[in-house]
Amino acid sequence: MTNAAVHMEGQLHAPAHGAVATAAVHAKGQQHPIKLYLVVWGWLFVLSTCSYLVDYFGLHGYLRWSLILLFMILKAGLIVAVFMHMAWERLALAYAILLPPIAVLVFVSIMVLESEYTHFLRVLFFAAPS
C-alpha cells in the first residue's frame, strides 16, 4: 500500500509540473503508465483462457471447483485493484467498499446450511422411489 501510494505520487507530480496551468489543476486523477494496464489486460486473457480450459478438459470434483474459484478471485482482484484503481485509493474508501461484501459470505454459509436441510427433507419425503 505504501509503495502504491509513493508510485501514485510520482505519477501525479510528473505531468503537473510540465503541463499548462489548467491541466495541472485537474490532472490529479488516477494516472498510471499504459504498460501496467496492458500487462493486467494480458493476465485477464490468460486467466479467462485457463478457466475455460478447466471446462474444456472436463476436470471434476474439488480440483475443478478450486481452480474455478482461484481464477475467479485472481480476475476479480486484478479488475478491482488496477482497472478500478482501488489499490491507490485511501483505505477509508477501500474498506468502506470492500468490507461490506463479507456479509454476503455469511449469507452464503447460512443458505448452504438451509439448502442442505431442504435437500435432506426432499430426499426423505418427496423423492420418487427409484
Binding site: M1, T2, P15, A23, V25, H26, A27, K28, G29, Q30, Q31, H32, I34, Y37, L38, V40, W41, L44, F45, S48, S51, Y52, D55, Y56, G58, R64, W65, I68, F71, M72, K75, A76, I79, V80, V82, F83, M84, E89, R90, L91, A92, L93, Y95, A96, I97, P100, P101, V104, F107, V108, M111, V112, E114, S115, E116, T118, H119, R122, V123, F126
Partner: protein, 240 residues
C-alpha cells in the same frame, strides 16, 4: 461546511495512513472520503449496492441448485455450439467472456487518455468499448433465442431441474440490462468528451455544473463492475 460541497478538493499535505488513517478520515466530523470527489464516492456506493443485488441472485441460484433432487442441466453441454462440424463445449460463453474483457481493457485505456486530456483518443476508445458491449448484448440475445427455441422456460427445460431456466433468465437478463445501460452511458459521455465539454468546462444541460474528465473514470468504474459481475456469473453459473 464549505469544504463538503467542493467537487475537486485540493490535497492537504499530511494525512495518516493505515488504521489510524481510517479512524481519522471517518471520525473528523467532515467528509470521510478525503481525496475522492462526491461523484466517484457515490458511484462506488451504488456499485456496492449492486453487488448485493447480484449476490442475492447468485445466492438464490445456489440455494435452488443445492436443494433440488433433480439433476442440474450440464451448462457445458447446454451452451455448446457446433462450429464447422466440431462440437465445442461452452464456446459461446467463452467468446462473450473475451469480448467483455477486451472492452474492459479499452475502457481502462480511455480513462488513462482522459486524464491526459486527449479527447479524441478518449472518445474513440469509449466508443470501441461501447461497440464491444453491444456485441456482447447481441451474443446474449442469440444465446437466449437458441435456448428458448430449445424449450427452456423459467418453469422448466428438457434437461433437468426446472429452476435452471428461472436462474438463467434472471441472472443473465439482469446482467445484460446492466451492459445495455453501460453502452448508453458510454455513448453519452463519449459524445461530451469528443465535443470538448471537459476542455472548455461547458455546463451540463441538466445539472448546470461543469464536467471534468473524472466522469470518464466514473463511467469506467461502472463498466469494470459489469465485467466484474460477469467474472462471478461465468464461474458460478457456467463453469460450476
Amino acid at each position: 461546511m464549505a469544504e463538503t460541497v467542493l467537487t475537486n478538493p485540493g490535497q492537504s499535505p499530511a494525512r495518516l495512513e493505515g488504521w489510524r488513517g481510517i479512524a481519522a478520515d471517518w471520525a473528523s466530523d467532515q467528509r470521510a472520503f478525503k481525496n475522492v470527489s462526491w461523484g466517484k464516492a457515490m458511484m462506488w456506493i451504488f456499485l456496492l449496492s449492486d453487488t448485493f443485488i447480484f449476490s442475492c441472485f447468485l445466492l438464490s441460484y445456489m440455494t435452488a441448485r443445492m436443494s433440488t433432487t433433480v439433476p442440474w442441466p450440464n451448462p457445458s453441454e447446454v451452451f455448446a455450439l457446433n462450429i464447422g462440424g466440431n462440437h465445442i463445449p461452452l464456446i459461446l460463453i467463452a467468446i462473450m467472456t473475451f469480448v467483455l474483457i477486451s472492452s474492459s481493457g479499452t475502457m481502462a485505456m480511455a480513462v488513462n487518455f482522459g486524464y491526459r486530456r486527449d479527447r479524441v483518443r478518449t472518445a474513440i476508445l469509449m466508443l470501441v468499448t461501447a461497440a464491444f458491449g453491444a456485441t456482447f448484448v447481441g451474443m446474449q440475445a442469440f444465446e437466449w433465442t437458441k435456448l428458448i427455441m430449445e424449450g427452456v422456460r423459467p418453469w422448466g427445460n428438457p434437461w433437468g431441474a426446472p429452476q435452471f431456466g428461472a436462474s438463467f433468465f434472471m441472472i443473465t437478463g439482469f446482467h445484460g440490462t446492466h451492459v445495455t445501460i453501460g453502452v448508453i452511458f458510454l455513448i453519452a459521455i463519449a459524445r461530451k468528451v469528443f465535443r470538448g465539454d471537459f476542455d472548455v468546462e461547458r455546463r451540463g444541460f441538466f445539472t448546470s455544473r461543469k464536467g471534468y474528465y473524472e466522469i470518464v473514470e466514473i463511467t469506467g468504474l461502472y463498466w469494470h463492475f459489469v465485467d466484474l459481475v460477469w467474472v462471478f456469473i461465468f464461474a458460478f453459473f457456467y463453469l460450476w
